[in-house]
């Protein structure tokens, strides 16, 4: 069982810091309309409806709310990409959280579904969206139940559907369930899936579904956490929002820290100023590495992010700074590896994930990911040669040509190569299969050298019976 102070929010730890999206997590019945009403629920919607849609839209733009799905694009700006005079427009909520290490949208949907619904309504009002589809990852049975129940309550109370709160504003919210595919988290794949197709990302351009999205119409795709911030912004104003965090990274964000820390958990942190050191070692957060061990490496922004080591602990949660240091903040997921970690095996688990989740549309990802998985598996099994290490880099070059971002390392005398990479695939799944093994081999070459046989010394090739699983 979870050690969290709130058993209904497993892994969540509050603290002495601002709470914007987790303010109701302390209540075991926060998912009910009754509790939501008692704690200021739907007041953001009322405040929004008292203004014009353009005013609400400006308020969101002024808040500089950054998208929480992974790319970190300003939400208000994204809404502005809808072409003039093309109707209808749709809202698609991306609740397909499945980036390795990421655990926040599920909590937001399970613990405070009305806050998400209120956010959806505010977005639809501000951007003139006619219908909302709330796409929840299929594997989240409890979130599905909670959101379905909350939607029913909100319909009955007049918050969703025709003439919301007696105004001209009306919108339906349709709960849609996925069926298990990581790549569907990519927004154009999400739209394909919602159209009843295989969840394969669409060729770009057009770059933004805001221009051409669901059924070819302008479509806003926003992450659950992004939308969950809107009730606060609508109710308290953008100034109250930007008062928290830094100018370029305002507000708070939810970060899940997992792996070898003393207290893994989900924390709502002050955006922009909190550093990885605060998070990993702070008493209010993870309280250091488990068993007093040393930190070996950590993944700063979900499985797709290049790895950091202790050299990067003082970097704050600020996109450009993480980018200059060779990685990204992604979806708010930190995975920590202590000194006991078998680095090649850890990299293998991520390479396997992305190889497995390739949708098969782009050849470099479909073939390259599979070959990376086989090569790394062979090395971890002890059958690899030094030639395999070079082959991994060669395969990687076919997915991410040119310089590959990585962190600096004082120990190895390495300078950082800034994020992002170049890519030969439509979406980030292909490069993400290469990122973990590239990071691991770059930052811990000795761990791989110790595992492989020098080709010149090799005498026989073992014949494997059965799979390498």
């Amino acid at each position: 069982m979870s050690n969290s102070p709130y058993p209904w929010a497993p892994g969540f730890y509050p603290g002495d810091r601002p709470q914007i999206v987790t303010s109701r997590f302390q209540y075991d019945d926060a998912h009910t309309l009754e509790r939501f009403h008692a704690t200021g629920g739907y007041e953001g919607l009322r405040a929004a409806l008292a203004k014009s849609p353009a005013e609400v839209s400006d308020e969101v733009k002024n808040s500089t709310l950054l998208g929480r799905g992974g790319a970190g694009f300003p939400a208000g700006t994204k809404w502005g990409f809808t072409p003039q005079g093309v109707w209808p427009r749709y809202l698609v909520v991306n609740g397909d959280e499945s980036e390795p290490g990421t655990y926040k949208d599920r909590l937001l949907m399970e613990c405070d579904p009305h806050q998400l619904i209120e956010g959806c309504l505010i977005a639809c009002y501000a951007a003139g969206l006619s219908q909302c589809f709330l796409y929840i990852r299929g594997e989240m049975a409890l979130a599905h139940e909670r959101v379905a129940a909350a939607l029913d309550e909100a319909y009955a109370a007049g918050y969703i559907g025709k003439n919301i709160l007696g105004t001209d504003f009306g919108v339906d919210i349709v709960l849609h369930t996925g069926a298990g595919a990581y790549v569907v988290g990519e927004e154009t794949a999400l739209i394909e899936s919602l159209e009843g197709e295989r969840g394969m990302p669409r060729l770009k351009p057009p770059y933004f579904p805001a221009a051409v999205g669901l059924y070819g119409q302008p479509t806003i795709v926003n992450n659950v956490e992004t939308l969950a911030n809107l009730p606060f912004i609508a109710k308290e104003g953008s100034a109250a929002y930007t008062a928290v965090g830094t100018a370029t990274s305002p507000g708070t964000r939810m970060i899940a820290v997992s792996g070898h820390v003393a207290r893994p958990g989900v924390y709502e942190i002050v955006n922009g100023s909190t550093t990885f050191r605060d998070l990993l070692y702070g008493d209010d957060f993870c309280q250091g590495i488990r068993d007093g061990n040393d930190l070996k490496a950590f993944v700063p922004g979900g499985g797709s992010a290049p790895w950091f080591t202790a050299d990067q602990l003082d970097i704050p949660f600020e996109g450009p700074q993480a980018g200059a240091a060779g990685s990204m903040l992604g979806s708010g997921a930190v995975m920590v590896m202590d000194s006991t970690t078998d680095i090649p095996a850890a990299a293998l688990s991520l390479v396997r994930f992305y190889a497995h989740e390739s949708c098969g549309k782009c050849v470099p990802c479909r073939e390259g990911g599979t070959w990376l998985y086989r090569l790394v598996q062979r090395i971890v099994d002890g059958h690899g040669t030094d030639a395999d290490l070079q082959t991994i880099l060669d395969v990687g070059q076919s997915i991410c040509p040119g310089d590959m971002p990585h962190a600096s390392s004082e120990r190895l005398g390495l300078d950082a190569v800034p994020f992002p990479y170049k890519m030969t695939t439509i979406c980030f799944v292909g490069p993400s299969a290469y990122v973990p093994i590239h990071s691991a081999m770059t930052l811990f070459p000795e761990d791989f050298d110790a595992l492989v046989t020098k080709r010149t010394e090799r005498r026989s090739i073992p014949v494997m019976a059965g799979g390498g699983e």
Partner: protein
């Protein structure tokens, strides 16, 4: 027999009506059929195809892309053990090893009594509570070998029937949109003007 029941056809039509285009209901309807039959049958896919005016091949084409759809009989309980990094770091491999021995089957197979299917799975969005598993997509956290054995014993004894519905049932409740509240689906061919509330925006 494995076509959708009369009751489920009514549910299916309610779901279809929510979407501007019928094909969008494909995944929800395949879920519905899996809820009814425990897995996705050929007849059910033909029936879904009839309901949304596509070919059975299109239904299979989409459904076979997604991991939650199973096309062969599956245990009443599907146990998915996560093996992605956070869980791997916290002992997922030994948990899987234990599970295979405890159940007497390899991952990917079903126990001889047809009760439990064991599978490898990828990230389940519970990374801080590793290692995790899901039984019919309901989480179990920080799973020790003992906790796994207790879980299996409880499942076998039927003690968790109230909490964990049989495989195929996603939610014990389902969204219901009241007819008097809905605006209906917005089909791009039928709607060319902006919504009423946006028209008042000053130019």
């Amino acid at each position: 027999m494995s076509r959708l029941s009369d009751h489920n056809v009514i549910v299916a039509k309610e779901i279809i009506a929510r979407y501007p285009k019928k094909k969008s209901a494909l995944i929800p309807l395949v879920h519905l059929s899996q809820q009814q039959n425990g897995y996705v049958t050929d007849d059910a896919m033909r029936h879904v195809a009839e309901l949304i005016d596509v070919t059975p091949a299109e239904v299979y084409g989409t459904a076979s892309f997604y991991e939650m759809f199973r096309f062969e009989p599956t245990g009443k309980y599907l146990i998915n053990i996560c093996g992605t990094l956070s869980c791997q770091l916290m002992g997922a491999e030994s948990l899987m090893h234990h599970a295979e021995h405890a159940l007497g089957v390899r991952a990917g197979s079903t126990t001889p009594d047809g009760l439990i299917t064991l599978q490898h799975a990828e990230c389940q969005a519970a990374c801080t509570e590793a290692p995790t598993l899901q039984v019919n997509y309901r989480h179990r956290y920080r799973v020790t070998p003992e906790a796994f054995d207790d879980l299996v014993a409880d499942l076998r004894a039927g003690k968790l029937d109230g909490e964990i519905p049989p495989h195929g049932t996603l939610g014990r409740n389902r969204q219901h949109i009241p007819a008097d509240r809905t605006l209906g689906a917005f089909h791009p061919d039928d709607v060319t003007e902006g919504p009423a509330w946006i028209q008042v925006t000053p130019a």
